[in-house]
Symmetry: D2
Subunit: 295 residues, 4 copies
């Protein structure tokens, strides 16, 4: 049993805090929305009138708030949570915040003698309800072991990233990829419709190719990730094919801004002399455009 303070009882925080109570922990909660607190009281949480009250006497303080500015204010404003939090307590921020903001908060928390862990969550509020979140813990095995009694109430899986700051970093990367991919998938699906290709047919084909399975585990490991850029499928051909798709889309009056941006990347790769390299070399192209060191 751990004594927990929980600040931020929104769509995510509410079920997370409830699951902690139901897991047998003592949970003090706070939110600026009193109705949100009342709902938690019904489940057995202790309602606190201020963030300071909520932090008083706890072992672990969890924040689940809209963004880094709010987390920072809640913790470090005058009369904030940090002023009331016992020495040596843990602060676990489970919100999705800007990694650099998170780093700043971590620094201040550490300077004040607390242990700070960034532990944002993956999946959705439905999963929060069922205690099936994915916890991305910015700490090592020991840190996760310490927090496991809590994480296990809220989530069904914890990724141990191994170091401070990596929890929020992997969260942001994962969301970047899945959110942008959503928009890209929409372009492909809309183009199917525009050219009278049943989406089922397209999905069936794509389920067996990198279009559906991604590149991380298919085309990259045997090629760019081990430094082999000899072509299985050439950048030049990739540029040709995406050009056909975009021309088609433009004839159908379907805007595809992401595909358009992609084509220019392949064009840049050709300009950089990569036309006859494997298409996975687009990774090297993007790395170079960001000034990342030559592999």
């Amino acid at each position: 049993m751990i004594k927990v303070g929980f600040i931020g009882l929104g769509q995510m925080g509410r079920p997370m805090a409830r699951n902690l109570v139901q897991g047998g922990h003592t949970v003090q909660v706070h939110d600026t929305d009193t109705a949100a607190m009342a709902a938690l009281a019904d489940h057995g949480a202790i309602v606190c009138a201020s963030v300071a009250d909520c932090a008083a006497g706890v072992d672990v303080l969890i924040t689940m708030l809209p963004n880094g500015d709010v987390v920072k204010a809640v913790l470090f404003d005058e009369g904030g949570a940090a002023d009331a939090l016992p020495d040596g307590a843990w602060i676990v921020d489970m919100s999705t915040v800007h990694p650099l903001a998170s780093d700043g908060i971590a620094k201040e928390a550490t300077a004040r003698g607390f242990t700070f862990v960034d532990a944002p969550v993956g999946r959705t509020s439905d999963h929060a309800e069922k205690g099936q979140l994915l916890v991305l813990a910015g700490t090592d095995e020991a840190g996760v072991a310490h927090l496991a009694p809590l994480f296990d109430c809220m989530g069904s899986e914890t990724v141990v990233t191994g170091a401070a700051g990596l929890g929020i970093r992997v969260k942001i990367i994962n969301n970047y990829m899945s959110i942008a991919l959503n928009a890209l998938s929409a372009e492909a699906a809309a183009l199917c419709e525009a050219i009278d290709l049943p989406l089922d047919t397209a999905m069936k084909v794509m389920s067996g190719t990198p279009a559906g399975n991604g590149h991380f585990t298919t085309t990259w490991p045997g090629k760019v990730l081990k430094g082999d850029l000899s072509p299985a499928f050439m950048i030049d051909l990739a540029h040709k094919d995406i050009g056909i798709a975009l021309d088609l889309a433009n004839q159908m009056h379907l805007p595809m801004p992401m595909g358009s941006a992609a084509r220019e990347q392949f064009s840049a790769a050709r300009a950089a002399g990569r036309g006859r390299q494997d298409w996975s070399a687009i990774l090297e192209q993007v790395r170079a455009s960001g000034g990342l060191p030559h592999h």
Copy 2:
């Protein structure tokens, strides 16, 4: 045993034609590159000095050429293949060509009394060597049955799309998606590196989320594809999160043009009043931007 003409003996055509010979078919070949023809002769193909010779007397004429202009010229220029091809023969274009160009070629072939099938291939030249291509056949079961003796020499899987023109269409969609996704994946991977997040950690997390598995079989079926836009994860939050990633990338001096384009799509979705809809509603947003009819 089928009598086949095969025009275009490049990186793909060469192994494909060889596999047809090795499968026991009589194969007449032609390419403007005589060295390419010589290589096939060694494997037992009949070398033809012209496209007309190559088409003379065959049951099925296969083309595997750089683009639609070349296919059209090879077939329909004066003294071209179509002039020599027996009445009722089949023309199977396995090149990757613009679907509208393919439609035009199909139309002319049909007008001249031939059966035209678009049957482009998926996968790479390595697969061509091993006879393990994916054949995307723009025809129905009967058409595929007719051509199976050939397809089965060249590929290990044939998708029956059911109708003329759908082979090349699904090919283009698949390539669009996989090519653009490659560039998007590169942005995510480069950002990992720029923020000192081990790619392994990121890939491990993404292997369990839509970031790694795509949306077609994960987030879409239960939501947008059945018309349910109630939020599991809101457009507003997706917009927030991708904004964090882009700000981070900009601070790291890493250009992410595709992610940037994606953010503007989510911004447009919010402007269209979709902020509190499920993120899969981005499909409806893209559809609307292309004037596709309201579902």
Copy 3:
């Protein structure tokens, strides 16, 4: 007085041909649309039933057609204009066509013994009506002198580009710039509205800065165009400021895809070590991304 054939009597060709007639030239016209020909007949043009008839006996054949494929077909298809055109005649294509298609047409025309000039026009159909087009002539002074009696009927200004192919090239560049700039201006104006800034105020300010006057004649000549990249205004600051605008637009739910793409270019410039160079160095950045040789 010149004997002219004129093919293509659309929104542009109709008034252009009419102005030639009214300028005293003998004009034979053709269009697939017979109504279009009839209208010209009323003005005194000679209607021709075929492109060949239209080319027969003329000194100069002018084409004003939708695109390069049509121009090519009209000229070089069997029984086309070139078959009937007198040896040594001039062909002047005033359509907007792909420069590489134009080059191909020029080559074939030249091979057949004609003089080919690309002479696309700037401005609009209103200007065509009034004989006030801008003629962009892909030829030298002598060529323009030869054609001046015609150009002067149709346009009020002729730019002598000096060499074959440069007429259509400068046309495409000009249109690229003005069309894309139109969309960019729309983003700026819409953002004004979204933030309640009167457009008049913004326009007044911009009328005195590169925002309204462009960079070609303001910031570039003293800096990047003479190889001086010492900062009057730094890339780093430009990146900062455009980032503020985009953040603001995103908060206002206003998609600005062009500005977004621009920011990533400045980000790439920073990654390439140009952060403290003058903002006009973005030209060097774009040049480098296209593999253009170091200055």
Copy 4:
């Protein structure tokens, strides 16, 4: 003679403060960089050890700092400038900050009894040296009259925007437009080079068209700005022409991400049924994409 506090003596602030001293005002200066202060002392400014000292006793406090966070901290942190500033003093922020941050600062300044004016500057540090900045004053005629003795030392032109917050808003819009336009111009210029078109020829042509003169004062006033969308030059043709330019650029391996994004905007306009509207209707398209009310 006005008693002025000036905080932020960087590339811009240094010459601005110096010009105030030379204009006969009493100027107290502060910067975290003591060398920067020392330079000003040589010119006759009073060096202050803290922001509070710098604010003490002045009529007007000017800030010229990197961003809104710094301005906010300098003014409102404990022991900050606002604590020492005389009641009723004016705070004039001349930095380029996020408009929403500026609004927040204005609000707090006003709440504390000060008059806040956003007055960012246009042009460059060269102009700052010569006292030839463009001052964009977020206030009315009375406000500008009050500050004119100062503005006239630092700048050669003051735009009276008429209301609080409009100074920084017009600054951001102007910079957005000029910065993005810089990158767009670079794409056009690099394409000239890639296709061997002398830049001089292109610039000469563009100097007479909207490509060089912008749309605000040329194509828009007679069309979209007065609600007339009848075509002088159609969206459909604009889409065609920009497509040619992009195809050309792709063939030349020149990435043009901004032009690419523009094409998709024109594609969206066509999808929205605007193909036969005037190209200035792209403004209506962008407005609609941002949910701005129908005109």
